[in-house]
Symmetry: C2
Subunit: 315 residues, 2 copies
């Protein structure tokens, strides 16, 4: 909108300085950053799995949080969607809107992004940087699933399937007061908020075993509702079986988001053996025919607390 070109020399320099070196490589990538587009060679007999995830300053993270934490959390949250499908990460495109080109912030952001990219083994293959009033981070991630496997969707749970959860929920929600109060402190519960586990190995192990899967970003009960409606089933959850970060705040743990545990359905005969390999994986209920929704076996007191939580619409 100005007469200066939208891609100023400053943008090229910024990309060269912060986003061109130190990221993992992908053997599938023929052309990465630096041209009009990237070029990727899909491996034979593979399906391409993709998700885009946006995080906005002061909406999804405190604007004053350390840039390295923000960057790595943004990438983790996006890659979690690949884990929930059973995919193996390949690469990502980054769209970064910034109010300024603060080099300390960019140095932190770049270093956090690289660290997470190495941990998750995902290459940065393209991007766009723009000016805007507040920081907006969009991460478009992708990965592969071999042809002979069916991606783990929300829609294929079946009557009689067991319901499992990859680990305890609630820590990220419990951490929110600390995160808001002191964004630079990533100790204790805030660790769960800033470094959510990305269950890539579990997701891949679920291929051919689970019928449905979702990552719990909106809260366990709400995300269970997504599977219930997509699969046209009732998800009966025994709330006492759900592993939570704090038993005294069970309702908040069941409805709080941002933990990125995997919630999955499938035959117990296929899923139960996985608990030997993934010890936090635990059985929390069953899928049954009926009006689609989530049915809880819970005490009156818990139900009362739950009805006061905004994250849960029963049915």
């Amino acid at each position: 909108m100005s007469n200066t070109p939208p891609s100023s020399p400053g943008e090229f320099e910024l990309i060269r300085n912060y986003f061109c070196h130190g990221f993992p490589h992908s053997a599938d990538t023929l052309l990465a950053i630096g041209d009009d587009a990237s070029v990727v060679q899909p491996p034979a007999a593979s399906q391409l799995v993709q998700s885009i995830d946006t995080q906005v300053a002061d909406v999804h993270f405190p604007a004053s949080a350390p840039a390295a934490l923000i960057a790595q959390r943004a990438l983790r949250c996006a890659v979690s969607d690949l884990a929930a499908m059973g995919a193996t990460p390949q690469g990502f495109h980054l769209a970064l809107t910034l109010p300024d080109s603060d080099s300390a912030w960019l140095t932190g952001f770049s270093s956090g992004l690289k660290k997470a990219a190495h941990e998750l083994n995902i290459a940065l293959i393209g991007g766009d940087t723009t000016r805007g009033k507040q920081r907006v981070i969009s991460v478009a991630v992708q990965g592969w699933i071999k042809h002979d496997n069916t991606p783990l969707t929300r829609a294929a749970a079946e009557d009689g399937d067991g319901i499992y959860l990859s680990g305890p929920v609630g820590a990220a929600a419990l951490a929110l007061p600390q995160v808001l109060n002191n964004p630079a402190d990533y100790s204790g519960l805030a660790q769960q908020y800033y470094f959510p586990a990305v269950h890539l190995s579990l997701g891949q192990a679920l291929l051919g075993r689970a019928s449905a899967c979702i990552d719990v970003s909106d809260g366990l009960l709400q995300d269970a509702g997504h599977i219930a409606r997509s699969s046209a089933l009732q998800l009966h959850i025994d709330t006492q079986r759900v592993s939570v970060a704090d038993d005294q705040q069970r309702a908040l743990c069941l409805t709080g988001g941002d933990d990125y545990q995997l919630l999955l359905c499938g035959p117990a005969t296929l899923l139960q053996p996985l608990t030997a390999v993934f010890p936090q994986l635990h059985h929390i209920g069953e899928c049954r025919r009926g009006e689609p929704g989530v049915v809880l076996s819970a005490t009156d007191a818990l139900l009362q607390q739950l009805s006061e939580q905004s994250g849960f619409n029963h049915f």
Copy 2:
């Protein structure tokens, strides 16, 4: 950052109302909007070509411009990167940050996006909608190029190649005062700003013929500089041959961005025949060995004007 889940029921409704119907289908898409990720089946022997492009309100477009115009322009600008590589569009993911859920704006945005998606034959296969202070539109587009073709990069121009341009430049830059003054008026020059041509057919026809290609988004001379540096060559451009929107404002036309013409290099024996099919395609210069940069055959007066334009760094 609030205790309400980031993906509120409002977000699901918004996606269902505005982004789930009326878009073109892609036979390659196995799973589109509505799960943790989309799933695409790459066609046999194809390379995946991808680009992400962000447009921010009052930075890349007037915030008060009609939403339908903004949407279709954002998609055109993004798909232009696929054209510049020679790719055939397949699908896109949309990350949309909005200050509110103004239904009139969203209805316009959705209808403009659908119209452009149909014209460009590209499917909407996923996305994310978030809240933020200003509207930010990120479009991640992708398409295919068959294995036996080499994507058109910036780096493979050769000594002796001719330089060609797909059509006149400058209209979008000349339109800026009108666009800023009256964003709803898309007549005359503003037509070029809001509806930049996307040269998909030309891009595809260039495969096997052109050595290098770029879409002119930053201004002809600056983008010529990208090819020059990437290919380590001098691009000698005869400015009198360049077709411009207004001969009286030649310097502005040569440096103004946003036209999305294709600038390409290659053997004249292969490219000249294409001018019969693409009549606006015209020859503007030659690639030569030498210190990488753009060399102009221009009058002193034009050079003086150019040196005053911000878009051009000679060498």
